[in-house]
């Protein structure tokens, strides 16, 4: 075999291996979607059914039996609310840090990131009592606040990096024209950084949506998000595999799509800007 032939075989083997890995990793998701299209009887059949007549009845019955929309609504409100609040706090700060960088800026950002590393379980009891005291236990307001604070450091860092890419000359020109700071942010910075802000928001929404510790510990029924709702199926009497799969598929689909769209921000956000 010549070197060239050998190289071709190695390439083929590598591509095959890559596809096998992709299929293995994707399989549980595929299986979940497949199960959601079966009847309850088919879902637990042994040996498992691969070929069957798909049904959408699970998706139709979820709302009647489980109040799915309430939990979906809670997820939407807390994820978007938390993200919005974090952005409102972060945009002015990140903006002023990016355009007035001093020797302390880096330390401040690093300190902010370090608050992200405080384990939730370490502050569980105080948050729990404070929530009770202010009558916020099991409310969406509480989750919105917690999610905003939880994501604030990452949002700050990514926005800071985006704002720094805006050429300073543009701002200086507008300042010469006497534009106020508020108008400067509104008319120049926001339009230029719009893409960055949108993808930062996407990342924050993903992180809020999949958050599972606080939503389980701090909610019981009223404010439960989809993560907590899905967790409630852990009990054996909750074993409706097809319906659980339908709920899970609906709960995960939007975020998986968001995730594909926000890959770059995700890498930057989750590595705290260390890998771009």
């Amino acid at each position: 075999m010549t070197d060239r032939q050998r190289q071709i075989w190695i390439d083929r083997a590598a591509v095959t291996a890559a596809w096998i890995a992709a299929l293995v990793f994707f399989f549980p998701i595929f299986w979940m979607v497949l199960t959601s299209l079966k009847t309850e009887g088919q879902a637990i059949q042994v040996p498992p059914l691969l070929i069957f007549e798909p049904t959408l009845e699970n998706y139709l019955e979820i709302q009647e039996r489980t109040n799915y929309f309430k939990f979906a609504m809670n997820s939407i409100i807390t994820a978007f609310g938390g993200t919005l609040l974090a952005l409102l706090i972060a945009i002015p700060s990140a903006y002023s840090m990016a355009f007035n960088t001093t020797h302390r800026t880096k330390d401040v950002l690093m300190w902010m990131l370090s608050t992200k590393m405080l384990p939730a379980v370490g502050v569980m009891m105080p948050i729990y009592f404070l929530a009770q005291k202010f009558d916020l236990f099991d409310t969406r307001t509480l989750l919105v606040v917690i999610y905003a604070m939880m994501n604030l450091p990452i949002v700050m860092l990514i926005l800071f990096n985006y704002f720094r890419e805006i050429p300073k000359e543009i701002l200086e020109a507008s300042r010469m024209d006497g534009t106020s700071t508020f108008n400067e942010i509104r008319q120049i910075v926001l339009p230029l950084a719009w893409g960055g802000i949108a993808s930062t928001a996407l990342l924050s929404i993903i992180l809020c949506w999949n958050e599972a510790f606080w939503s389980i510990v701090l909610t019981t029924t009223d404010a439960s998000t989809l993560t907590a709702f899905v967790a409630s199926f852990q009990a054996p009497e909750g074993l409706f595999w097809a319906k659980v799969s339908a709920v899970s598929t609906l709960a995960c689909a939007p975020i998986v799509v968001f995730g594909w769209m926000a890959q770059k921000q995700l890498v930057q956000g989750l590595t705290f800007g260390a890998v771009k």
């Binding site: 994707f26 690093m110 009891m125 510790f213």
Partner: protein, 286 residues
């Protein structure tokens, strides 16, 4: 911008984060030094380090600490090795690479409670699960994964979710590798392994250390997977520190002891965080 305005713009984020950090942290430390059990509200008072002693001498503490270390260690090894291998495999152009990439990173976006339920029921269930069906088709006894190998099962689930994270980071980082250098090495007759050790691995050294540290931070506080699948059992065989502290507060109602455990978890995470912050700090050029 005048300095006063700068301060006003930065104040909200700094003050809020400071409050978010200081208030709960000092409350946890305070709770950890007093007698505070919701079942016995009449018992109060400062007791020094007794809660810590109680937490550390609890028969579940040793196993939980070991489980935490085994869980974090195994997941790290699995995700880094698999992540490296797969990201190198998909670094070459081939037809459908985009789809393969999407398939590979998707598990990372599945919410942890869903992933736990899918593994627990549809894959690992000893009666109706897919793994059991495989065993039976080979004439073997089905394995009761969560009862017989609870910690291993959780390691499997968490690795399934986090290998995609490693792939995502390594994949992104590989794209910035100097291709000409690699081509030159190939022309010089350097084989795959020699290129891997001398070019690729040094290039990935920083991303690897970052992935390592970030995963450590996240995996020290794994909760939902255990909560949904094994509830820490059988016995304490799949209880980690986070879950043990959760149990102390939710079932024993002992706020003092749970807080002492919380302080312990914070210290553990901070040791890792120290290294992480240093590694991140090097890349943030201001």
């Amino acid at each position: 911008m005048n300095p006063t305005l700068v301060r006003w713009l930065q104040a909200p984020s700094v003050i809020l984060l400071l409050v978010w950090m200081i208030v709960p942290l000092s409350m946890t430390i305070y709770f950890s030094t007093i007698r505070y059990n919701l079942l016995y509200p009449e018992r109060t008072g400062f007791i020094g380090l007794d809660n810590y002693r109680f937490f550390a001498t609890d028969p579940s503490f040793g196993p939980a600490l070991i489980n935490t270390l085994v869980l974090v260690g195994s997941v790290l090894v699995i995700t880094i090795v698999l992540g490296l291998a797969i990201s190198i495999l998909i670094d070459r152009p081939f037809r459908g690479r985009g789809i393969a990439r999407v398939m590979l990173i998707s598990p990372f976006f599945i919410m942890p409670t869903v992933s736990a339920l899918v593994w627990k029921n549809m894959l690992m269930d000893p009666n109706n699960g897919l793994f059991a069906a495989f065993s039976k088709s080979f004439g073997l006894e089905p394995v009761e994964w969560l009862a017989q190998y609870p910690l291993f099962s959780i390691i499997l689930m968490v690795s399934w979710q986090w290998t995609p994270f490693a792939i995502l980071i390594f994949m992104t980082s590989l794209q910035s590798q100097d291709q000409e250098q690699k081509e030159a090495a190939t022309l010089d007759g350097a084989g795959f392994w020699s290129q891997f050790w001398n070019l690729t691995l040094p290039h990935l050294a920083r991303p690897i250390s970052i992935v390592l540290l970030i995963q450590m931070i996240f995996h020290l506080s794994i909760f939902a997977e255990i909560f949904v699948t094994t509830s820490g059992g059988p016995g304490v065989s799949s209880t980690n520190l986070t879950y043990l502290i959760y149990i102390q507060s939710q079932q024993a109602f002992d706020v003092g002891v749970a807080s002492a455990g919380g302080v312990f978890a914070i210290i553990l995470a901070n040791i890792v965080a120290l290294f992480l912050i240093r590694a991140v700090g090097k890349t943030l050029t201001v």
